[in-house]
Symmetry: C2
Subunit: 249 residues, 2 copies
Amino acid sequence: MNTIFNHRSIRKFKPDEIPMPIMNRILEAASRASTTGNMQVYSIVVSTEKEIKERLLPCHFNQKMVVEAPAVLTFCADFNRFNQWCELSNASPGYDNYLSFFTAAIDALLASQNAALEAEANDLGICYLGTTTYMADQIIEVLNLPRGVVPVTTIALGYPDEKPPLTDRLPMDAIVHWETYQEFNPERIKAIYHERESSDFTQALLKENQKETLAQIFTDNRYKKSDNLFFSKKFLEILKKQGFMNHDE
Amino acid sequence: MNTIFNHRSIRKFKPDEIPMPIMNRILEAASRASTTGNMQVYSIVVSTEKEIKERLLPCHFNQKMVVEAPAVLTFCADFNRFNQWCELSNASPGYDNYLSFFTAAIDALLASQNAALEAEANDLGICYLGTTTYMADQIIEVLNLPRGVVPVTTIALGYPDEKPPLTDRLPMDAIVHWETYQEFNPERIKAIYHERESSDFTQALLKENQKETLAQIFTDNRYKKSDNLFFSKKFLEILKKQGFMNHDE
């Protein structure tokens, strides 16, 4: 499927709006993804108004594409609607626990990837925003997400105003294991990362950041332990606040 | 994209093996999905041997398709390889926390949906197995998953030996919210579930299970509070055991 193999993240968008028939097709594509027991325990908040996108902007570390993209799609794990249906149906929902959150997150994430691909098949570009889990509490506030709803990922969506090259990937044996997991050894790790580490791009990056190794760019700059700890605790608090951490009998 | 709109879960497979070029293309398709910071913090364990699939069978509540499908793909959140690379690169990984697990789970789930769609585009059928998170500890044992690796979903893969109809979905306004979240009221909930509740299929199901409402089939039979609680605690324990719950400074 060419769409899959042509994917690149787009961070610069034209101001052109997305025609409603195309938007609807993207959302329907999302709804065709597998969902646990056909419960469809997710939701998609489509934000196109300037004011809403401006309020989402700081939630995504002020990445300009959030306001420049004509649409920002926030994918949420969502047991709110299902719980309300149960209550109205003389049924007692038992979905206020971590497993239910994770189940709903799977639903939301599979739907998001369908939306991303359908968008790309219609000449749109997308970028996933990992900031969603870091700043879930602020997003909950901006989008008025009720109890039972947690944002898990976001897609910025619009017509591309750039054509970046395909992103390099590690050799396939970095991610694929046959039959059972084949544990790595230092030689294999070195072989897997060799090409990426020795590229001109990496060499320039090391010089620019005055780092000795590419891994240090990740551990010291991009994904620091102190940030991860801070956002971990925050996200776990949100799961509790949104009603997914009740583990008493 | 027709493949997306033709998806149905396949639970009966022909014994035909998957040709290696097609399998490789499916795995490559997985690798083209977006991944946080291009870290590719996931892995795919492809199990095709009868003995391994038989050991996976009880992990998936003895659903026969696990042994009948020529291949079972287990998608894992995986910081093991990345951590080893950091250690070898004079860098201190700080990825033993919940945020890192969830980041890696997103990677794994987006990759799984690409694999599913590429498989379907090549006339294969797939079924997602939600049992993966319920029985993650047993899967970890069967597949020898080291610390830093947690299975998050599984796809059974093979040539379809059935052609089920498309699954019904709720009306789109059940999952899509414009601009911000539009909270439901009882009338809207009833309207959303009306068609599904009044179908012949549901009526037969209620009779068969001697239940009053469709929601009760979910709360009392399929996804019971006691099971959810049990598997929630188990999954959180696994996250701890696999090294993703260290939140001390």
